[in-house]
């Protein structure tokens, strides 16, 4: 079994991964138009503003959509089928994740489920992952 992919940070994304290593999800936000930006880059894709300021994001969102992947990527051979989900964060950006702590079935995963960020340690990198919020705080 091959190893799972490990992210290779680039100059614009360094802060994202440094903050993840501290257990926090940070995003850049445009000083001009106020919108959060994902993935991190050197200027705002909405208004072309050059000044972006990093901030700590809520780490909460909902499942925008998902698949249950039956053709595993390297490192996921033992886990297939596994969920790849697209999360809409409260800050209005979409990002890709797996879904932890939930059965990887269409009965257990639904569009609209509330989720929160957790961090997976992988080869010296802390990888943001999301888990379904249950109990208090769940909107059902």
């Amino acid at each position: 079994m091959s190893a799972r992919f490990v992210p290779v940070p680039t100059p614009e994304t360094g802060t994202y991964w440094e903050k993840a290593a501290e257990g926090e999800l940070w995003l850049p936000r445009c000083d001009s138009c106020g919108r959060a930006v994902f993935y991190p880059r050197s200027f705002c894709p909405h208004c072309h503003g050059d000044d972006l300021t990093w901030f700590r994001a809520s780490g909460r969102g909902v499942v925008e959509s998902f698949i249950i992947n039956h053709n595993p990527a390297p490192g996921y051979e033992q886990d297939a089928p596994y969920v790849i989900a697209l999360i809409m964060l409260e800050e209005g950006v979409r990002l890709t994740t797996n879904l932890l702590g939930v059965e990887q079935t269409p009965d257990a995963v639904r569009i609209g489920l509330p989720v929160e960020v957790v961090f997976e340690q992988r080869d010296g990198i802390a990888l943001p992952q999301f888990r379904v919020i249950t109990g208090d705080g769940a909107s059902g």
Binding site: F5, P7, E64, H70, N71, T96, N98
Partner: protein, 382 residues
Amino acid sequence: MKGARQATVVGVGYSSVHREIGVDTRPLVVDACLGALHDAGLTTSQIDAVFEYPGAGSQIAVNVQRLLGIPDLRAFGDLGGSGPSGLAAAMAAVAAVESGVCDVALVFRSVNREWGQQSGRTEVPPAGNAAQFTLPYGDFGGIIPSIGMKKYRRLAELGGSEEDYGHITLNARQWSAMYERGVLTQPLTMDDYLSSRFIAEPLRLLDCDYPVTGACAAIITTAERARDLAGAAVTVDSVAFGTGSRPDWTFSDDFVFGGTIGCAQHLWATSSVTPAEVDVAELYDGFTHITISWVEALGLCGIGEFGDWVDGGKRIGPGGALPLNTNGGQLASGRLHGLSFLTEAVQQLRGDCGPRQVPGARVAVVANAHGPQCGAMVLTRT
């Protein structure tokens, strides 16, 4: 309105198609191009432009110029990577012909079957650039996870059922059985569809087109030149590209429809006909979600109404009110990557389709791709 320079399709051609790997695409693309020239009653020396959509193992425009012995080109282009699949080549040819840059354009798509899992990837790339936010999550299939997510999102937003998707696949097999170039010609039942294995659940194997190696081609010239040619000419009534806002397969603003809705609006705004006048539709079916998106985006039915509209498949099948993908599409006749929707529309409007002919077809709509890569065309024959 465009007068003598009105773009007109005067010939189409095909190669044989192959499932085995390692097939040289050069003789195939030559077969398809010579077929289109013969169909148009033209010779290689009369071609003055070549446009194509490239891909791994396919042939680029000047390779084909050399293979065919075309003396010189006034226009050429390899329109790959981000354009509307094979239709991109024809769309470029229309613009070049109508602007006067060239007079007789050869367009083709030569496809080399990608081998292996995940769109033929055999090497593991580094998870850098944008991929640092996808590959670590086992998102390794390019468009496949994205299309699966769009299918679930559509079902959640607009309702409908998996059977809606199945009707696209079952329909393709009905038509391919009547097509001399059909590849998968055995009929399917809805149970067959609903029990086909998941690739990226909810995306099933039978939601995906059938990879082949092969080529197809068309000749586009002016209405003036077309009058001197033997074959029946088909008019390119309107052409439109589309991207949607913030174009991207995953991050675009309209996740479910991508650029299809805007593309369709532009198409009808410049067309001499309306959606109600369409006799036959040839809409990209690389994945069934794409076909359903186009049916609704083009206004052939309302948004979210496909399931009722398709009427158990009757509406789009042989004898139906709106025949769809009448050569079996890529689901059943192989992935020639978009251009075969144009060539089939041309053949339908000429009345060349034998047992699968749509009686009296005069207006066809063709669409390619999805998301940030949309393109569409209305074709007419008076």
